[in-house]
């Protein structure tokens, strides 16, 4: 024998209110949605019908409970529709006859309503829902009263008196939910959810009736000029988000049935911050923090958008990530792109300010779009060894774009580069190196060069044979002393003269250092793992260039005391590590300590000290 499931309605309502919906206040959204759907349905029947929604807050007298009346002059319900739509959970008037859930969203949009659970969401705030309704389909249709209770029972009866066609919903507040029945809350919620609705929504409380959606969608209003429109939209943005936006960009896509406005943020948002946009579906607010509506690169705008074609999730406060959303994302991205391109020809000064604000975004976009890259790359700021400048300025002064993709190496290089009159870009920041690497393939004739200390060193002058002989002992000994630190030594002549030595590392030297450093402290299991990972030693990872233009190095070459020379080389090595902002490992720290003590002792001895 088959039995039907018994449904505990109260439990389901609790479940929905706590886990599906974003909070109890959504009941008002559901009521508005039902009302506006019913009006749209009636407009199909009677094209001239204007439609109106009236909400009345009934404040309590004496020990009474606050209540709410919600009245629309929409299509109303017949007796049969009441049983189908109001009293069957999961059914909704927009579903085609016999259509499965899969087909539910394929029908165009006239009946969006989710009468099924939508109305029942009122049980979150009340213990009984009373509905009076009269269908507009037939003039002789009776007025029907439906009473639903959260224990899952409902009653239906036909009334003698007749109301105007449409639906009236009466709710009496449940204890503990009074805050949802105050005039302020109802007005504010109605304005928030229904502010764009085409038919007037009036909220009455204590004899004071106000239309909450008088203004409609600001981007659909007519303005005298472009300028006025921008100002009108900025004002709207200010009221909505409390932000003085940098600019307002109207959005419109016929094919995605979507319109709205994008506000350009006046500050750089954290790239890790979530995009959050205010999205309306058929003029009803669906979400105030919708994600995925814009391409990832567009994190510099905040949008208010109305769409006719997207599919909301079950909780109706976000959108399903489907093809329609992908199309909308593409269309919106296209429009923002067109806006930026338009600025570059129409208002370059504004563009410069925008680029200064949102360089990260612009860089991200340029990475994926050649046309965009060509237009913007010369406007972008880069840090160089000669200060910050735009790439355009840099390219005017230099034939080859020279850059260093990592901060440590830039620090090592900048000083030497500066002394040699070479301007080098620090491309360690987000996207910079990738952007510069693309330069030759996008811009005809542009040349780039990755600068390493070793590349600069190629420009260093070699010592003469005599000089080489003079310093022979120094270099031989230095090489020997530094071999355990995977560092080779070379004698060169370079500017600035004041720099005795330049420490240069291979790109992967930092990695090997981090493995070495861990090996020093780890247990046998891990040190063998690190040993395997680093593989057989691939020779020195670093190079110390001794500068024979430097007076101190020249003096060192004349020292004949091997012990002193050894100490000096060690200290020179430590000093160049510190100059390159390299941390010292344990062995190098020991070296530093011993070296300092040794030098002090040697100094004291040279002073003729040491007698007690």
């Amino acid at each position: 024998v088959d039995y039907p499931f018994k449904i505990h309605l109260r439990g389901i309502i609790d479940l929905l209110s706590h886990h599906l919906y974003s909070g109890p206040q959504v009941f008002l959204r559901e009521l508005l949605q039902n009302g506006v759907d019913a009006i749209r349905a009636r407009q199909q029947l009677e094209p001239g019908h204007a439609g109106e929604i009236a909400v009345e807050v009934i404040e309590p007298r004496g020990r009474g409970r606050p209540a709410l009346a919600f009245v629309d002059d929409g299509i109303g319900l017949t007796d049969e529709e009441i049983h189908r739509f109001l009293s069957t959970i999961g059914e909704s008037s927009k579903r085609g006859d016999g259509a499965g859930a899969g087909a539910a969203w394929e029908r165009p949009v006239d009946f969006l309503g989710q009468f099924g659970i939508g109305l029942l969401s009122c049980f979150i705030v009340c213990d009984e829902i009373v509905v009076l309704t009269r269908s507009a389909r037939r003039p002789e249709a009776p007025t029907i009263e439906w009473r639903g209770r959260p224990d899952g029972t409902y009653s239906v009866k036909t009334l003698d008196q007749s109301i105007a066609p449409g639906t009236q919903v009466y709710l009496t507040c449940k204890t503990g939910h009074e805050e949802f029945f105050t005039p302020e809350h109802v007005r504010e919620s109605a304005a928030r959810y229904g502010g764009l609705l085409p038919c007037p929504v009036r909220v009455a409380a204590g004899g004071d009736t106000r239309t909450v959606n008088e203004e409609g969608a600001p981007w659909r209003r007519r303005f005298e000029s472009e300028r006025e429109r921008t100002e009108g939209l900025l004002e709207y943005g200010r009221n909505l988000f409390g932000i003085d936006f940098f600019d307002a960009v109207p959005l419109r896509s016929e094919s995605c049935r979507l319109d709205g406005v994008a506000f350009v943020l006046p500050f750089a948002p954290s790239p890790a911050a979530r995009q959050s946009h205010r999205v309306y579906l058929k003029d009803m607010l669906v979400s105030e923090n919708a994600e995925g509506l814009l391409p990832d690169w567009a994190f510099f705008v905040r949008c208010v958008v109305n769409t006719e074609a997207l599919r909301p999730t079950a909780s109706r406060d976000a959108f399903v990530d489907d093809e329609a959303l992908g199309d909308a994302r593409e269309a919106l991205g296209e429009q923002l792109r067109a806006y930026l391109l338009g600025l570059s020809s129409g208002d370059p000064r504004r563009l410069r300010r925008l680029i200064a604000l949102h360089s990260l975004t612009i860089k991200a976009l340029a990475l994926h779009d050649d046309e965009f890259y060509r237009l913007f790359v010369d406007w972008l700021d880069f840090e160089t060894s000669h200060g910050t400048m735009t790439l355009g300025e840099y390219r005017r002064r230099n034939d080859v774009v020279r850059f260093v993709p990592d901060l440590d190496r830039f620090r090592q290089i900048a000083r030497v580069a500066l002394a040699q009159g070479v301007c080098v870009i620090n491309a360690a920041y987000t996207y910079d190196a990738e952007l510069l690497a693309r330069l030759p393939s996008v811009i005809e004739g542009a040349r780039i060069e990755l600068v390493e200390p070793s590349v600069l060193a190629q420009g260093f002058e070699d010592p003469t044979l005599d000089e080489r002989d003079e310093a022979f002992e120094l270099v031989r000994l230095a090489d020997e002393v530094l071999a355990p630190y995977q560092c080779a030594v070379e004698l060169k002549k370079f500017f600035p003269e004041g720099l005795p030595a330049l420490y240069s590392t291979d790109p992967d030297a930092g990695l090997y250092r981090s493995l070495d450093e861990a090996k020093e402290v780890s247990n046998p299991l891990w040190s063998s793992v690190l040993e395997h990972l680093a593989g057989p030693s691939a020779g020195p990872h670093a190079r110390l260039f001794l500068n024979y233009l430097n007076p101190m190095i020249r003096r060192m070459a004349r020292v004949r005391d091997p012990a002193l020379l050894r100490r000096t080389v060690e200290m020179l090595y430590i000093q160049s590590l510190l100059l390159g902002h390299q941390p010292l490992n344990t062995r190098e720290l020991t070296l530093l300590n011993e070296g300092l003590i040794g030098l002090i002792e040697w100094g004291l001895a040279a002073q003729g000290g040491g007698h007690d």
Partner: protein, 382 residues
């Protein structure tokens, strides 16, 4: 503790955590570690390293996480009071093992020892062996050892789930990989259904799952579904050019469905070969080389002799002018795949990678052109 130093270190970490995963995020964390070390502040160095480990692993720069992790583990073993854990290291241990097995130079016996060590530490802290079995199962997958997988799978599933277990979405993906190991595409897609349907997600799922179901769907002839997941996955995987394994799978799929331009674009954007030897001798690079070989084989078969590519100057076969011989690229990538596969097979003492290479050589039989989602032409602006 030096307040100013601490402020500087924290500022660097804060800046790092504000960025997207990638080299810059890792660099800032490394800078914080260096700063703390330079001042000899081990406690601060310990904290900074924990941030660094996460940044490196999530940016797929795993090689830069191993040293710091080992350092932290040693610090904790030495002085547990001074370096309190709060289970962070126990959790990060899982990441490190998940990375370690992808380096062929680490011997099998060392990997087993690491997993055993992790299991012992987990048990000592009151957690079950579930994570250990999950990584043993992962290793079996890498070894292409279905028999070993069959014995490990029930052990993993029956070990209690606790706070040290992966999230439900990740665990579901472990199942997906298990059915892949067993070669059962039907079960694989059943297991993937809750992920593909959107019910299970986390920071890596469904991105990696989208990429992993492509070939099974192609084998089953379900190209329209495959194309839909390609579109979704492609968008996610394009966000980070270090997601080399994803890229390899999407390139393979685009080649199978005859979209060479998009495949070439992804090859350029996710090209992983300019890095140093530790980073480049890894499992994802093997998959990438294999997919690239397939792409150039098809281009060659279509009569293409040369192709212009933007590849990093440190790519061993780099051409200054950007013009490459298609046949040469095919053979370079085949040699690279065979070299890396050989390292893994030698470590595992079997021929799993060689057989997978052979299976890839036969992929051309599965090529069936299938349209991308039609491009939109909505360029109208206001």
């Amino acid at each position: 503790m030096d307040g100013e130093l601490e402020g500087q270190v924290r500022e660097l970490l804060r800046r790092s955590e504000g960025l997207e995963w990638g080299p810059t995020r890792v660099m800032l964390a490394e800078e914080a570690v260096r700063l703390a070390d330079r001042h000899g502040d081990a406690k601060l160095g310990y904290e900074a390293r924990q941030v660094l480990i996460q940044a490196a692993v999530f940016s797929d720069l795993d090689e830069r996480a191993v040293g710091p992790f080992t350092w932290c583990l040693a610090a904790q073993d030495r002085d547990p009071k001074r370096f309190p854990d709060g289970h962070t290291l126990l959790w990060q241990y899982k990441w490190i093992i998940g990375s370690a097995d992808e380096w062929p130079q680490i011997p099998l016996e060392r990997l087993h020892a690491m997993i055993d060590d992790m299991e012992a530490r987990h048990r000592q802290a009151g957690f079950s062996a579930r994570s250990a079995y999950r990584y043993r199962l992962g290793l079996a997958g890498l070894m292409h050892d279905a028999a070993l997988g069959r014995t490990l799978f029930p052990k993993w599933r029956s070990a209690p789930r606790d706070a040290m277990a992966d999230c439900p979405a990740c665990e579901r993906n472990v199942e997906v990989r298990y059915w892949n190991l067993l070669g059962d595409d039907g079960r694989l897609l059943e297991a993937a259904a809750p992920i593909l349907g959107g019910a299970l997600r986390c920071t890596v799922v469904p991105r990696i799952t989208y990429a992993e179901v492509l070939l099974p769907l192609v084998r089953l002839g379900r190209l329209d579904e495959a194309m839909a997941y390609h579109e979704k996955g492609h968008r996610l995987s394009a966000r980070n050019t270090r997601w080399v394994e994803d890229a390899a799978r999407h390139i393979r799929f685009l080649t199978l469905t005859d979209h060479p331009v998009r495949a070439v674009h992804m090859l350029e954007s996710h090209f992983p070969f300019p890095h140093d030897p530790i980073a480049a001798d890894r499992y994802p690079h093997f998959e990438f080389a294999l997919a690239a070989r397939f792409l150039f084989e098809r281009l060659g078969a279509a009569g293409r002799e040369t192709i212009k590519l933007r590849l990093h100057p440190s790519f061993p076969a780099h051409q200054e002018a950007g013009r490459y011989d298609v046949a040469l690229l095919e053979s370079w990538f085949e040699a690279e795949a065979r070299r890396l596969g050989g390292l893994f097979d030698a470590r595992h003492g079997n021929d799993g990678f060689r057989r997978w290479i052979d299976a890839n050589l036969a992929l051309k039989e599965l090529v069936r052109p299938f349209p991308l989602k039609p491009a939109r032409s909505d360029r109208s602006s206001t």
